[in-house]
Symmetry: C2
Subunit: 405 residues, 2 copies
C-alpha cells in the first residue's frame, strides 16, 4: 500500500509537473552549450589580430550563467516546429547583446564583480571594457544579416525589426526608471511599475527571444500576438522575483552588494507597496533616505580616512582646526563621505519597513498572479503541440517565480 | 593693368581652388541642417514618454560641430548622381552613431566638457548618459531597415553590411590602440600606425560615409573600390592632423585637456617619430613617463589635500607619523596622487622632445603625402563628373591637413 501510495503520488507529480527542476537545468545547460558554440563561431579567431579584443568577448559568456534568453528563443522555435540550425544564429545574437549590456551596466554602476569574478573594467580598465561591449554589439549585426541567406528576406527582416524594437523598448524602460529616481518621483502605482517593467524586462528577456524563435519557425500573426502576451506576463513575474531576490536570502547580509535596489533608490513593487502602506512619518523618513545618493565605490577608503582622523584627534595628535581643514578637503575629494550618502543603517531601516508592512509577500503574490495568467494562456494554447520544448516553457512559468538565483 | 592683374590672379585661384574655405563651411553647414532635420524626425516626440530620454539625444548633435560624416555621405551620393532624399536617412544614422560614441567616449575618459559645454554624464550622471548612447544606437537601426522600402532590398542590405563592417573595424582599431598602451609596446613603425588608423578612423569617418553615399547613388563595384581607396588615404591624413592639433596651438597651454594623447600615452605618428629619433637616454625617460597612468579626474582635490598636509606638518600641527598615516590612507582612496601618475612637468618634457626632434613637422609631411595621393586619385577620377559636390570633396582634401579645428 505504501509503495502504491508513492506511485500514485509520483503520477500526480508527473501530471502537475512535466519537467523537474533538474530537467529544466539540463535543458538550459544544453541550450547554453549550443549557444556558446555558435558565439565562438561568430567571434573571429584571435590570431588574425594584434589585440585581446576577441578573447575578452568570451569572458562573460563563459562564466557560469543560466543563458535564459537563447534557451527561450530555441525552445519557442522548436516547440513551434522550427529547426535548431535555423535559430542558433539568432539565439547567439541575443546572448551577445545581453553580455555586451552587462559589461556596460557594470561600468555604469561601478560594480566590482560579475558572476563571482572581477568585472571586465576592473581587470582591464574602463576604456577596454566599454570598447569590448561596443565590439560585441557590432559583431551581433552580421549574423542577423546572414539570416537573409539562411531564412530568406522576409523572416530575416522581421527578426531585425524585432531586435531594433527590443533595443528601443529596453532603453526606454531604463530611461523611465532612471528618471523616476533622478526626479525623486513617488506618485507611482503598480500600473506604472508594470508598464516600465514591460519595456525594461519583458521585451528584452522574454518577448524578443520568443518572437524571434516563433518567427524562425514561421507562425501566423495571431500566434505571435499570443506569444507576445504570454512573454509579457512572464517578464513581469520574472522582474518582480528579481526584485524580491535582491532583498531576501543570504545576499541580504552582504549589505551594499545585495539590496542594491535600495541603495540605487529603485521604485520596485516592493518599495512602492511599503511607501503607500507606511505611516506618514515612516514614509517621510524613507523618502529622505531614498533620495540620498548611494556612496561612491571608494567610500570604504574615505571612511577609513575619517576613522583615522577621529583616532588621531582623540589621541591629541591632531588639533580640532587641523582635523576640520582635512575633513573639508576630503569632502571635496570624495563627496558624500561626510554622511550625505546612504548608510548601512539607512538600508537596514528601509528593510525593516519592508518587513513590517509585508511588502515582499505582497510582491510575491503579484508575481504569482502574473505567472498564473501566463500559465492559463499556455494551457489553452492549441497552436503549440506537446514536446519537451513546450514542457520547458511550461516549467519556466513556475521557475520564474520560485527561483532563488 | 593693376585691375587685370587682379583678374588673372583670381582666375588662377579659381583653377587651383574650386571651393573657398567659406564655401566649404557653408556646404558643411547646409548638410548639417538637413541632417539635424532628419534626426529630429527619427527621434520620437517627447510627449509620448515619461522620460527626458529623447530630449537628451539631441544635446550633442545640436552643439556646434562640423558634422563631417553626413556631409561626406551626402556629397558622395550627389556627386555620383544620387538624390538628396534617398541619402538623408543614412546620413542621419551616421551622425546618430557618431554622437552615441561621443557620449560613451566621454564616460570612458571621464571628460568634463564636450563642444564647450559640460559632458552628458557630468550633467545627468553616468547611468543616464550610457543609456542615452545605447538608445541612440538602438534608434539608428530602424531608418536602415526603412531603407528597404526607400531604396530596395539590394541597396538597403549593402548599407547595413557597411554599417556592420564600420562598427567592427572601428572597435578593432580602438582595441589595437588600447592594447599598445596597456602592454607598453614601442616596437611599432609608421606602417603599424597607418594600419591601426585605417581601422579606427578611415573606416568610421571616411570609408563608410562615402561607400554608403555611393551605394545609394548606385555605382559599379570598381568605382566603390576607388572610393574606398580615396577615403582610406583621406582618413589617415585626417587622423594625423588630429594628432598634430592635439599638441599645437592655443590648446597646448591648457595642459591636461590639451595634449590628451600624451596624457593617455597614445602611439601617434608624432610620438613614434620622437621615440625613434631621440637619444637612448631621452627614449628611456620618455618611455618611463608614457607608461605612468594618467591622473584621475579628482587629482586636483587629492593634491590639494597633500599640500594641506605639508602645510600642517610645517606648522607643527601634524606629527611626521600622523602625516604618514594620513598619506597612506589617502593613497588607498586616490591611487596615484602620490606621484605615480603623470605630471604636468612630464608632459612638458615630452613636448620638448617632440619639438627638439621636429616630430610635428615630420607628421605634417606624412599627412601631406597621404592627402596628395588622395588628390591624385580624385583628379584622375573619370567616374565623377563636375559639380559643387565634387568640388566639396576636392576642397576637403586640402581641409583635412590644413584645418585648425
Amino acid at each position: 500500500l505504501h509503495f502504491c501510495d508513492r506511485l500514485v503520488h509520483r503520477a500526480e507529480e508527473l501530471l502537475l509537473e512535466l519537467m523537474t527542476p533538474a530537467e529544466l537545468d539540463a535543458y538550459l545547460a544544453e541550450c547554453r552549450q549550443l549557444t556558446l558554440g555558435e558565439i565562438k563561431a561568430i567571434i573571429p579567431s584571435e590570431r588574425r589580430y594584434q589585440s585581446v579584443l576577441y578573447e575578452l568577448m568570451l569572458e562573460y559568456p563563459l562564466r557560469a550563467a543560466k543563458a535564459l534568453r537563447p534557451a527561450l528563443c530555441i525552445a519557442t522555435c522548436r516547440a513551434l516546429g522550427g529547426r535548431l540550425e535555423s535559430v542558433l544564429h539568432s539565439a547567439a545574437v541575443l546572448e551577445l547583446y545581453h553580455n555586451a549590456f552587462l559589461i556596460h551596466d557594470d561600468v555604469e554602476d561601478g560594480s566590482e564583480s560579475r558572476r563571482d569574478c572581477p568585472t571586465l573594467h576592473r581587470s582591464y580598465g574602463t576604456p577596454i571594457a566599454v570598447n569590448v561591449g561596443d565590439a560585441m554589439l557590432a559583431l551581433a549585426l552580421q549574423p542577423l544579416l546572414d539570416n537573409m541567406r539562411l531564412l530568406g528576406m522576409g523572416k530575416a527582416l522581421r527578426i531585425l525589426q524585432t531586435v531594433a524594437r527590443m533595443a528601443r523598448e529596453s532603453t526606454e524602460g531604463q530611461a523611465i526608471e532612471l528618471d523616476w529616481i533622478r526626479n525623486h518621483l513617488w506618485s507611482l502605482n503598480d500600473t506604472d511599475y508594470v508598464r516600465m517593467v514591460y519595456k525594461k524586462t519583458s521585451w528584452y528577456t522574454f518577448i524578443a527571444p520568443m518572437i524571434i524563435g516563433a518567427t524562425v519557425a514561421g507562425v501566423p500573426a495571431d500566434v505571435l500576438t499570443r506569444i507576445r502576451k504570454f512573454a509579457a506576463l512572464l517578464g513581469v513575474a520574472f522582474q518582480i522575483q528579481d526584485d524580491v531576490l535582491n532583498l531576501v536570502g543570504d545576499d541580504r547580509a552582504y549589505g551594499k552588494e545585495a539590496a542594491g535596489d535600495l541603495w540605487e533608490g529603485k521604485r520596485t513593487l516592493i518599495v512602492l507597496h511599503m511607501m503607500r502602506t507606511a505611516s506618514a512619518s515612516e514614509r517621510q523618513l524613507a523618502s529622505a533616505i531614498l533620495r540620498k545618493p548611494r556612496p561612491r565605490s571608494d567610500a570604504p577608503h574615505a571612511s577609513e580616512l575619517h576613522t583615522l582622523l577621529s583616532a588621531l584627534h582623540a589621541d591629541g595628535a591632531l588639533s580640532t582646526t587641523a582635523r576640520q581643514q582635512i575633513a573639508t578637503a576630503l569632502e571635496r575629494l570624495a563627496p558624500g563621505s561626510n554622511g550625505t550618502a546612504k548608510t548601512h543603517d539607512d538600508i537596514s531601516y528601509l528593510l525593516s519597513l519592508v518587513d513590517r508592512h509585508g511588502s515582499i509577500e505582497y510582491a510575491r503574490r503579484v508575481a504569482q498572479r502574473f505567472a498564473q495568467k501566463a500559465e492559463i494562456l499556455l494551457s489553452h494554447a492549441t497552436w503549440i503541440g506537446p514536446s519537451v520544448h513546450r514542457d520547458f516553457l511550461q516549467a519556466l512559468v513556475d521557475f520564474v517565480v520560485t527561483r532563488n538565483r
